[in-house]
Amino acid sequence: MFKKYLIYSLLGTAMGFILARIGFADYDEINKMFAFIDFRLLLTFAGSVAVLMVVSFLFRGRFPSQDKFIQPGTVPGSMLFGFGWAVTGACPSLVFVQLGQGRLPAVMTLFGIYLGVVLYRKMHAKYFLWDVGSCSS
């Protein structure tokens, strides 16, 4: 079990470092990407999808498969996430990268994300009963 803690903390550090050096957590850069003023981040993202796609094709069978499927929450959920991302410049991992760069207001985003996750769980259990197939990591 100790190994798991070690692996995840090394991976977390690497991910934070890489995202910071890419500039993915910089609100101005994110804004320029969404407004199609600058294509650097867009190319970075598309490029990393391509790298992952090629490697997972070469080593197919050894890569974990996912069971993600279209469910009633896919469209409204993604739409809400997009609006939130445009306002905060953060996705669930970028908020930590912003904090690591000393951006204090990201504390509010952090609280917000936690509240949102908890609120969704409560509402899902009460009103929406479909299966969301969330990332099971």
Binding site: I7, T44, V51, F81, G102, L115, V117
Partner: protein, 212 residues
Amino acid sequence: MEYWEWWIGALALGLFSVFFSFLTGKPLGVSGSWLSIARRKEDAILKASAEVLDGNQDEVKDDLMAMTMAEFGDDVLADISADSPQRREGEANAEVTDEIKLKQDYTPWTVHVLFLVTMFLGSYLASLTTGDFSWSIDLSPLHTQIFENDGEAWIALLFGGMMVGFGTQMAGGCTSGHGLSGCAQLIPASLLSTAIFFGSATALTILMNSMV
């Protein structure tokens, strides 16, 4: 901070997600880590069920049999022992289910906390090594320009964060789960989700920028 050229970033992020999958046996997905933290109270149940399944598979099967008998009565035994069509059918099914290993992988929620906290550390190290670290009360110059004063900006961030948290759970993934891991495997739900969150973010960004 001088940011990386796009191809350096693409190689780094792409290879990182490859290493993530190889080392953890799971596709990269950060909103799953948030979920795991939010449901930490159920962690004991998940852990116990994983241990039971790993520990004694025969015992689990006996328990399932006992529950079946309690539900349907002892007649079930007669049905199974008789050389009936159901029996033969059941046998065929049993052979199939035996091949499926009852295994549940359990990752404690504290591992996910560590993963997220070290992401903060990694980013901090990046800004230290480039000599750009400083505390600031604004998110960015443009963000301040859009939201005019700090109070408004901070409240917008709280509600924006709630939309991110709520939306990623509802959509079943985020930038990493849908956008990176899902799109690389060409999963329809991930392609749809990525197209929609990019689209809605673009629409709102253009709208906000036009009002400045």
